[in-house]
């Protein structure tokens, strides 16, 4: 836990002491009958139409999941906020097959993809989720379970980011990961995927909360990324049972798990009506800190973020360093300064200009008075050395590595 401020707002070290591990709401019933009740939870939570709210209502009404599953389906359905024929069918089938078998099958299905089932009855259930309203009763987790107990910050944003958004996501996730804190996100294309990737590249841990079951990772284009997250000490989390078709509501529902697993949520870039704004309101509802990265006022992709800041719902992030400071984290700087490969005057000029402000070749040309051909070749060289990145080919950014080098050199001077 090096790097976490002892008295910082994250207060990770207090987690274990302050909160009873695991069960919070239905303690009385759950403590009575550990393995059997646990199996009943797994099978009851797998019924389509029984969400976290319905689940809690059913368990409250019948005293335990075991008792509930012995009741006629109509009785159970009466407790649900809404239901359809599918729920009724699934309950009848469950009672026909026998819920212990269904639970064992689900556990086996999770094991087949290298995962495990964690119920809110289990000690391994993440403490950060345990006290939330609408916590998922059952989680399917692939990877390292204990990661979920470590301090975490969510980094989320739109699936259609600008180059600025991608660069900001990479910077912030990189800094958070280097500070030893887990980066939580939703594995979506765009900002989410970039945040996961930057955390991994920084040698950190990251957790992906999936909208789909763990046996069918969504989006398919991020399957390799998901595998890498697990291989490098992170985890994939889902509340959908293996084999379930995921639908639109699953995408909205997982947002509360992203914010719930995290002490703070950072919205990098979100247009109006972005899914990331759902995560933001979930974070606020859960009483977690919310941060937003401001964007240009003419950028569609930043409208949601700018509004969160304007409405005083999110705190404005001025730099990744200031964010870490607010979170009470400090970055572990690499001990050795990077070796600065020699740059020509032109390359130094271009890099210097980009560190001041990212921009297109057109803007760089106007600022530096260099010819387009010179700019183009200097940018390729800087890109090859990892000092400059471009997302979408229009806007160029100085990478964190470049800024660290310059930081070091100015320090030396």
């Amino acid at each position: 836990m090096i790097g976490v401020g002892a008295a910082g707002p994250l207060g990770v070290s207090h987690h274990d002491a302050d909160r009873p591990r695991g069960l919070a709401v239905v303690t009385a019933d759950a403590s009575r009958s550990a393995p059997v009740e646990r199996a009943a939870w797994i099978s009851l939570a797998s019924i389509p139409g029984i969400g976290p709210v319905g689940f809690a209502a059913v368990v409250r009404r019948f005293g335990s999941a075991v008792a509930a599953l012995q009741a006629p389906p109509a009785e159970i359905i009466r407790q649900l906020p809404r239901s359809d024929a599918e729920t009724d069918d699934a309950l009848r089938r469950l009672q026909g097959v026998g819920w212990p078998t269904v639970a064992a099958d689900l556990e086996e299905a999770a094991r087949r993809v290298g995962g495990a089932v964690v119920t809110a009855l289990d000690p391994a259930y993440p403490a950060s989720l345990a006290r939330l309203d609408g916590r998922p009763p059952v989680l399917y987790v692939v990877g390292h379970l204990d990661v979920l107990a470590l301090p975490a910050v969510a980094v989320v944003g739109t699936r259609r980011p600008s180059g600025y958004g991608l660069s900001a996501a990479a910077d912030i996730a990189d800094e958070i990961a280097r500070a030893g804190v887990t980066v939580v996100s939703g594995l979506a294309l765009g900002i989410d995927g970039h945040a996961h990737l930057a955390a991994l590249d920084a040698g950190g841990r990251t957790v992906a909360v999936l909208p789909s079951p763990i046996d069918r990772v969504y989006p398919p284009r991020h399957r390799d990324l998901a595998a890498r997250i697990v291989a490098e000490g992170g985890a994939l989390v889902s509340e959908s049972p293996p084999g379930r078709q995921s639908g639109k509501p699953d995408f909205a529902r997982r947002n509360r798990i992203i914010s719930g697993l995290s002490e703070a949520t950072v919205v990098i870039e979100a247009p109006d009506r972005s899914g990331a704004l759902l995560t933001a309101s979930a974070a606020l509802a859960q009483g977690r800190d919310l941060y937003a990265v401001p964007g240009p006022i003419d950028s569609m992709a930043s409208r949601g973020c700018n509004r969160l800041i304007a409405d005083h719902q999110a705190e404005l992030v001025t730099s990744s360093a200031s964010l870490l400071h607010r979170l009470g984290l400090s970055v572990r700087r690499p001990q050795q300064a990077h070796v600065v490969a020699s740059l020509s005057d032109t390359e130094g000029l271009v890099l210097g200009a980009l560190i001041k402000r990212s921009g297109s070749i057109e803007e760089l040309g106007a600022r530096s008075h260099l010819a387009t051909s010179e700019l183009a070749s200097a940018l390729t060289l800087l890109e090859a050395r990892g000092l400059v990145a471009s997302y979408g080919g229009v806007t160029f950014h100085a990478t964190l590595a470049a800024r660290r080098i310059v930081y070091k050199t100015t320090e030396l001077l």
Partner: protein, 499 residues
Amino acid sequence: MLSEMLSATVLGVDGVPVRVEADVAFGLPSLTIVGLAGSAVQEARERVRSAIRNCGFEVPARRITVNLAPADLPKEGTSYDLAIAAAILGASGQLGLAPTRRCALIGELALDGSLRPVPGTLALAAAARTAEVGEVIVPQANVREAASVREISVRGAASLGETVAHLVGLRELPAAVPTPIPSWSAPSGVPDLGDVIGQPLARRALEIAIAGRHSLALSGPPGIGKTLLLRCGEGLLPPLEEDEAVEVSRIHSVAGLIDRREPVIRRRPFRAPHHTVSTQALVGGGSRVRPGEASLAHRGVLMLDEMLQFRADALDALRQPLESGIVTIARVGGALTLPARFALLSAFNPCPCGWRGSRRHACRCEDGAARRYVARLSGPLRDRLDLWVAMDEPELREEPDGAEPSSVVAQRVHAAWRRQVERQGVGNAELQGALGADAGLPVRLGGLLQQRGRRFGLSPRRLHRVARMARTIADLSGSDEIRQADVDEALAYRPERAA
């Protein structure tokens, strides 16, 4: 009695000599044309009958057989009319008993015996030269076109009667003055680079593409000047070399696109087919093979605006010309090869609504739809496009930024092209294999190229292309040796940056 005349047909873009034999024999009066003659040739019977009669000769009331040899080559069009009529006259003894002059006959007959122009005369006259006859008679209107072929005496005739008078030596037709190859002048009515706002990288990529005949792909939202920029390319093209001029003119002559009074083209072609074009119209084909837009763009530019709106099979058909500079068309009787070496200039929107990646507008496309849209560009085709630039809206500014006008850029491009022609005879994009020290790529830079390729994940094919682009960039700055900055600049246009 038997008689033989010489004519020619067009196969692809080349002329092929055709022998027209006529035999007049006893039997019921008839006129039969054999030798894979198409419908226009069959109808020649009626035109020939009327023309012969109206010129004061007669069609013998015998069994007349006309054979077009080689008999296995399909024949189309009306250019054999004159030769058929002359052969019939010869076979029926109306040209006298003395041997007639050896010359090739090309032209369509009107019913009154006058001659009408035919397309492709340039290629047909060239065929007559290969058949080693010293003369070719063509319709008056086609004389300047045919006379741009050297080493053959071209004579224009107004009618069948004049032709016969020449053949029998009664009244010689005057030999046409060889058509001079005109000097080059810059095209007019083409947009100027000086009027393009911003987009420095795209302008530079256009300059490189035209200079080395590389292919260019611009992506970006609608209305930011992609089309305008591509159209500016026409004003940068260097003049055609003289031998190229005759070759290009021949292709345009076959397609019937030539100005008959000024038949030799000196400006490089700039073809911009609409995106609804069929595969056949794009690369050529059809029952009577005609050159497509790809061949009409030979030695010039093929511009595909809104490239992703083109039919997928049409785009895929461009792979062969992009790779080897030719189009092969499979026919029943074998394959035909048409030349098609052009610089492909293309532009497309990054998604169906066009706004993906733009800062000021929201994209309204589903992710899947946008991905499928860009996926219309198949991997192999993508691999063959050299320069990629992603464009966005230019920064707002009060007045134009004094960008270089086309005339200045064109000077650099023309000089770079001359360097290539003098060094290697072809454009840099057409160089074969890996570039080495003889092409001005120092060994040290070969290593750097490999290193950059690994860093950016580029295929060996892509690296070869990068080296050729670097060669062009060096040529633009007048350098014999490729420098590191040239290689790095060429790498700035890799596809990963733009799509």
